[in-house]
Symmetry: C2
Subunit: 645 residues, 2 copies
């Protein structure tokens, strides 16, 4: 299977009015802030112990391990984000710091190549003895991803070599007889091994990843009986009995056709499955990926690209079960969905996968971070009534406002590495052809076999559906273009000097006939604000509508619409009015609509139930992009709104 | 404060077409079945170990304690239900069995009077050392209630004397300096001590109950710091940090004005507070009761009389937070609410309290038990979609069908004792005046100072609002009558020989002027099926309506209305049609209505979100009483239904 390639990040320079405010947070706010947290220097924040753990494991200081069993991943994700950020904002001091951290990791590496501060310090004899909970392979996967990213951007191979030694150990250990059926409890190492194989050209890492995927869910089921090993020690004291589906080992992966269990684990596994399907030309595995993706996107995904309907176990539940106020929809799970969708598009060249990738990125992933970069959502509800988001209730996982960085932080650094590597989502390439997935301003160099061309995008997307594409081929080498036609695009055209040029639209991409050297193309489509409805099997959304514009899902906030948003009805017969305003949320397009609202007027405050309905009053409604919610001081929020019958 | 009295159960003989099918289950099904479970003789059921534990504690057999720390309460609630049942269905063999169990309890009693098989067998040195979790006083309370009930019905004082010795020990222990601030973690002993004081006339038990109530929530807060006692041992391993509000000790009870924490604990405490307010003429305590009751009924109670909105911690949450599909609303909590409301009515003579008592009894309490008496709901949702009630999700506490008796069963025996003592809810008395709270067929003897009168009710309530009251005073002693005027009653009249007689309606009771010896009165009021709406602050019910008829709340079931009940709209402009049918659910009044339903027609099954709304189709709706739901094989259910705007 031929897979479209990602462009090297160093060849992509994004400069986009919509995205800049987020991508700049990575270098300005998040990376420096996380560095302080890794070093336990943030007052009022729970210490992370991350650097300290490595120092202790390296024998550089006295002390013990502290933090969660997967604490090392914070360092890995930080390094990965640093690597990506260096590709677009070189920073010698930061690179120097990163090099020092890499040296520290090297010093903490054990003679046989093993790296994990928790087990090295606390329980060296229990290495690999509890894959279900131990997260050693998960941690290894994040370190591998970081090492590959750092190598690709900086060209320095120190980190890569450290991790290659660890990967060699993993390959040795997990081909021993006693581990011949072993798989990680939390998938992630597969992605890291695949990336290592790609960058080193050494297929054995890919084979190891494939083994992990092929073994998973087969009988005898390693994770199910692992605790019978005398060296197994319980790590998470309050976790209930092991559920195979929670870790997607309830059946062989090729037989899975519904997305089950912990949604981050699931999507990370699907990413590896897609990569392996392509690498081994494995149609059966690709079919499983397609079924699982379809199941998510047709039956188990929020309109915001959130996944994981249950707070307990952060998991998928059942088809059409999409409650809006008590869901989990972890930011990391939507990142996983974007990564999986991107891989599926690389393999199939079908733009429908990009539609979903874009949905996740523009809504749930962005909502995960405050516009000042200082607070984060792990859980992404579509409806919030702050009063009932109480500690020690069934709603306690839902936070009505973003939270500061935690001691153990999975989502914030994951969002950071995603924003820092945004370029990887914008383009694909194959030979001299550039696939444009996202309309997003910036300049990109396409290296062709015997030259290069620069492609510049200039757009006000997602607020306007018009993009100028400037192609400049200094060496005269022509490029071909495939431009994504989003599912929401109306009247897609490409013009050159005012004249429409013919395109061949196939599976969500417009393939331009001919090649281009130096020219300017204008891509235009309409993407007016629209009212959408959910499949009538989605009980939670019955009788409700949502407003979208292009990839953006909109929401009502209390700041604009008062409280009791559940009492609002949209008048779907009245036109929506789009208005771009510079003064709100750093400049955004809001949507005005007409509706009615249940009033408290005339209702006796001492009466809970009465025979007379509350009065409906006319009301003006203002919708803002969901990604921007909770940037104006809390309050109620709702994506879905009732409509008048 | 003068409190209206309950009539002795032995003077009440109920024979009611609506209630018989439930009350007869108690003697026919529940008591015999529970006796088998107490003796671990039910195949396929988790053993309860209850009788075995008492035998071990009594030294009659070898073995150890098994089951939950409050396992003894199953025996207590069984004995209490047996006592009540003997009042209306004498059964010598059953009474003999009960006597033997009482002897066994006596043998398990320790030399100092202590009774608790868990601590006696497993941890005698840890007695009273963990009141937060140990449930010793809770268990004592249930045994006290059982002993008082058994004494009142049978006149035998063996059990009462056993428990009096235990109560004496409790009074001694909890007046020692080291326990001078101690209170039970789970309230219940207060009710038992109060009943013991009432039946023995010994005020010291009442004083002990009052101390427990007065100490509660005062600083230093005993339960908060109790674990510092070196004898304290953790009992519930997976319970998170102690939350004072969970046990209603977050502030002194007199200062509490919102219902907080675990809803069963809360209502049991409020019962004791009400009793004590009356016994000590304590206006401040009564005011607290009124505030707490108002908070529940005006802001935190489901239309079905369910309370406790959060599955986690089975607790109250915040005002107007009444989610319909993920609530707890434990059957026991509604029993507690009925008991509390009855006490408030006894004290205040205000029928509004009976309205709520009746709401809880006719809806949540009855829904708790299947019509064959063989399965039970602990959790009482108002909306169920069976597909999403999955194990190991946030919804796992919600069971879409009733469950068989558990090893540790709190709700089933609580429902049993409630049904068996139903007579105590029907009447109050004071001197020669009988207060009729519930219209319910049966015969009652009112013992007056120098004679007696028999009052017979004949009614088809709650399906008809007409009751014949026959008064027969063999001894010629006249009685006076106060007849409840429910809040839902329209056009309340009382006639004698066809002629309307004047009544003085005050606080929900119609006081009949004059006295009655031998006559027949006809009480008539209309209670047509009605559409009701929730306070617009109840987010979960915005835009929704419910149907009620008298005390009965109605619901839609899949059996009558197909699935996807969330897509149904009631047409509130069209009349409701009531139809009594003998063929359904043992004879009931169903309600027919017109409406519309979102259709799947024309919706592409592969599409989750689309720009065209689902089509609305006309539909006929059938509502059945909520108490009867899930008696026809599962499926969706919903109390609240959208209405057309």
């Amino acid at each position: 299977m031929e897979k479209l390639e990602l462009l090297p990040l160093k060849d992509i320079r994004l400069d986009d009015p919509f995205w800049n405010k987020y991508t700049r947070l990575v270098t300005k706010e998040i990376i420096p802030y996380q560095w302080e947290t890794l070093n336990d220097r943030v007052p009022d924040a729970e210490p992370s112990h991350c650097i300290s753990n490595f120092q202790v494991a390296a024998g550089l200081k006295e002390g013990t391990f502290e933090g969660a069993v997967f604490q090392d991943t914070d360092v890995a994700k930080w390094l990965e984000a640093v690597a990506y950020s260096l590709s677009y904002e070189p920073d010698a001091a930061l690179e120097q710091t990163a090099d020092e951290v890499i040296e520290l990791i090297g010093k903490a590496q054990q003679p046989d190549g093993y790296i994990n501060t928790h087990f090295t310090i606390l329980a060296p004899e229990h290495r690999w003895a509890n894959l279900r909970e131990g997260h050693e392979l998960y941690t290894a996967g994040h370190l591998l991803e970081a090492a590959v990213a750092y190598y690709k951007v900086t060209g320095k191979d120190r980190f890569l070599n450290i991790m290659r030694r660890f990967a060699d150990l993993i390959c040795d250990v997990f081909h021993q007889e006693k581990y011949s059926r072993a798989v990680p409890g939390h998938q992630e190492v597969e992605i890291g091994l695949i990336k290592l194989a790609e960058v080193t050209g050494d297929r054995k890492y890919m084979d190891m990843a494939k083994d992990f995927i092929d073994r998973r869910g087969c009988e005898p089921n390693y994770l199910v009986t692992e605790h019978e090993n005398p060296l197994w020690i319980n790590i998470f004291k309050d976790v209930k009995p092991f559920l195979p589906a929670y870790s997607q080992c309830h059946k062989p992966v090729r037989e899975q056709d519904t997305a089950e269990g912990h949604s981050v684990r699931a999507t990370y596994m699907y990413c590896a499955m897609a990569d392996l399907a392509a690498a081994y030309d494995d149609r059966e595995l690709l079919d499983a990926c397609k079924r699982l993706w379809d199941n998510i996107v047709e039956k188990r995904m929020y309109i915001t690209g959130g996944i994981g309907s249950s707070g307990a176990y952060e998991r998928f539940t059942t088809d059409y079960d999409l409650p809006n106020d008590c869901n989990y929809s972890e930011s990391c799970a939507s990142i996983g969905l974007a990564l999986f969708s991107r891989r599926m598009a690389q393999i199939t060249r079908d733009g429908k996968y990009i539609d979903t990738m874009e949905r996740a990125l523009y809504n749930t992933v962005l909502a995960g971070i405050a516009m000042d970069g200082k607070s984060f959502f792990y859980v992404n509800p579509l409806e919030v009534w702050p009063d009932n988001c109480l500690e020690h209730t069934s709603m306690e996982h839902v936070k009505p406002v973003r939270q500061k960085w935690f001691g153990v932080a999975c989502c914030p650094p994951n969002i950071a590495r995603t924003l820092a590597s945004l370029g990887e989502y914008v383009y694909f390439r194959k030979d001299d052809c550039l696939w444009v997935n996202l309309y997003l301003s910036g300049e990109t160099v396409l290296q062709t076999e015997d030259g290069s061309a620069t492609v510049t995008q200039k757009t006000r997307f997602p607020f306007e559906g018009k993009t100028e594409l400037h192609i400049s081929s200094g060496t005269g080498h022509p490029v071909r273009l495939a431009l994504r036609v989003p599912a929401y695009a109306e009247g897609f055209t490409v013009t050159e000097g005012g004249a429409e040029i013919p395109v061949n639209i196939r599976d969500g991409y417009a393939y331009l006939t001919g090649t281009f050297t130096d020219t300017t193309l204008t891509v235009t489509f309409a993407m007016p604000a629209r009212i959408v409805y959910a499949n009538p099997n989605v009980r939670a959304d019955a009788g409700k509508a949502a407003i979208v514009k292009g990839p953006l899902v909109y929401c009502l906030e209390e700041a604009d619409n008062g409280n009791r948003l559940a009492g609002i009805y949209l008048d779907t017969a009245r036109p929506l009015e789009e208005a771009y305003t510079d003064s709100l949320l750093g400049g955004t397009c809001i949507i005005k609509a007409k509706g009615k609202k249940l009033s408290e007027k005339g209702w006796d405050g001492h009466t809970l139930y009465a025979a007379k309905p509350p009065v409906l009053e006319d009301t003006d409604l203002t919708f803002i992009p969901y990604c921007y919610w909770d940037n104006r001081g809390g309050g109620e929020m709702s994506v879905w709104v009732k409509y008048l019958t």
